[in-house]
């Protein structure tokens, strides 16, 4: 009788534990970091040393013209241009949506002409707040390569308040 009793106790313990493990509620993961929208107004200006033109080496998922310029901010697409844009002509986005307090990341992908591949090309990226410049960076391409750059920038809360204050 003792072995049966031992087996019963063992089964009750293990069975109870298994039942608990399978029926307990899933652990609630902490909610993701909440980002707050930066107040104030920001604008973005891009100026290239080359004429933007459709990239023959672009991924084309549709029959549309391939893009010459793609701009994303914090993972969201701001701009996609498939048309030709002459060199030195500024491309402006004003206002820029989705600017957050704290860390932000701007992604720029531009296609220099492939036929003059032995030259280096550049794109100037400027982000302006209402009263002050937030970012001014120039990115250079390797010979013949596409420009693809992630540019981090930070909006300090003080800067945000200042922008907000000046805006009134």
């Amino acid at each position: 009788m003792r072995p049966v009793l031992a087996a019963v106790i063992w089964i009750v313990l293990i069975g109870g534990l298994t039942l608990y493990m399978n029926t307990r509620e899933a652990v609630k993961l902490p909610e993701g970091f909440k980002v707050s929208q930066a107040s104030g107004t920001y604008s973005l200006e891009l100026t290239t040393t080359f004429a933007l033109e459709p990239d023959p080496f672009a991924l084309r998922t549709t029959a549309d013209e391939p893009e010459a310029l793609v701009v994303k901010l914090n993972g969201k697409e701001l701009l996609r241009i498939a048309d030709k844009v002459e060199a030195g002509r500024p491309i402006r986005i004003d206002p820029v949506p989705e600017v957050h307090d704290g860390a932000n990341e701007l992604y720029v992908e531009a296609s220099p002409p492939v036929d003059s591949a032995l030259r280096s090309y550049a794109i100037r990226i400027q982000i302006m707040g209402t009263h002050q410049e937030v970012l001014d960076r120039t990115i250079w391409s390797e010979h013949g390569m596409k420009i693809a750059a992630s540019v981090p920038f930070c909006i300090e809360p003080q800067q945000r308040k200042e922008e907000h204050g000046h805006g009134r």
């Binding site: 049966v4 089964i11 080496f57 991924l59 492939v114 013949g144 390569m145």
Partner: protein, 305 residues
């Protein structure tokens, strides 16, 4: 009584253990989609896009000539297993053997050169479209985009993966294109004459500023405008002499005898062997498309600069 109690409890335990577990009885189809390509270049482009998600098969072995290839019963079996067939098109596959294989097996087929602006060749009073479009990396990008769209349609759940791999590969093609231009800048423009076995390098010549001469027409087969004629032979020898060409080149997939004869006749060296209608065997530098173009460029620059 005790025995029955233990059995009953074991059954209960088994039931408890299986509570909340996913069903194991669902039949999962883990078979990878099978893609059948006619040429080694197409197979390489497809592998770069699908990774290990699909099985890629190729009809032609490295070094085989697509113009003169005759399909075998084994090829027909591969076509029957395939979920998608890919051909180069523009009649590269002599007598359209790949389209015939796919049609006989009842399988969908796509043409990788769809959307390419073909170079028109005039021979024997007729105009034919040059099928060797992959020799331009820009055209290779069109091949890649056509294949991405086809495999995404075949396996929609893998679309993001295919597009991500293709995007990286397209950048590699762009870098390859600019590297080729940089390498050829070492050859004076008047020395950029490419004499090869058959007329396969027109797209390459067009992209990189070469004049292309070949004793054999666009195909090594018996199509119109293909094959070797005494006029073409004489024209090639005259061009070599007139332009002071330093070297001529044999091709990996074509018998080198004719080019060696031309080299003797014109008094020039054979500059090396170029990959043309087929890539190299596994383990060689030319086993991929990028490797094939790279090795060709290095061979040409070494011989002509």
């Amino acid at each position: 009584m005790g025995k029955y109690a233990v059995i009953a409890l074991l059954v209960l335990l088994s039931a408890v253990n299986s509570y909340g577990q996913p069903s194991q009885t669902k039949k999962v189809d883990n078979r990878k989609p099978i893609i059948l390509c006619s040429t080694t270049q197409l197979a390489d482009f497809t592998r770069q896009i699908v990774g290990d998600r699909c099985e890629v098969l190729c009809i032609l072995a490295p070094g085989a000539d697509p113009h003169t290839y005759m399909p075998t019963p084994r090829d027909a079996q591969m076509a029957l297993r395939a979920d998608l067939c890919i051909e180069n098109g523009l009649h590269l596959e002599g007598k359209d053997w790949m389209a015939t294989l796919a049609k006989d097996a009842g399988k969908p087929i796509i043409t990788a050169t769809e959307g390419i602006r073909p170079i028109e060749l005039r021979a024997e009073g007729v105009t034919v479209n040059d099928p060797h479009a992959w020799f331009s990396p820009k055209n290779a990008a069109i091949y890649v985009n056509n294949i991405v769209r086809a495999v995404s349609k075949l396996d929609p759940s893998g679309k993001d993966q295919y597009q991500a791999r293709a995007k990286l590969y397209l950048q590699q093609l762009r870098v390859l294109d600019s590297w080729v231009k940089e390498q050829f800048s070492a050859i004076p423009p008047d020395q950029r004459i490419l004499v090869t076995s058959h007329d396969a390098f027109n797209y390459f010549a067009q992209d990189y500023g070469f004049r292309n001469e070949a004793p054999v027409g666009w195909s090594t087969g018996s199509e119109v405008g293909a094959g070797m004629t005494p006029e073409r032979f004489k024209q090639v020898v005259d061009s070599i002499k007139n332009f002071g060409v330093k070297a001529v080149f044999v091709e990996t997939s074509v018998n080198p005898k004719l080019v060696r004869e031309i080299a003797r006749e014109a008094g020039v060296n054979v500059g090396g062997e170029l990959y043309s209608d087929s890539m190299g065997a596994a383990g060689t530098a030319g086993e991929t498309y990028i490797g094939m173009i790279r090795e060709n460029v290095i061979t040409i620059v070494n011989a002509l600069k």
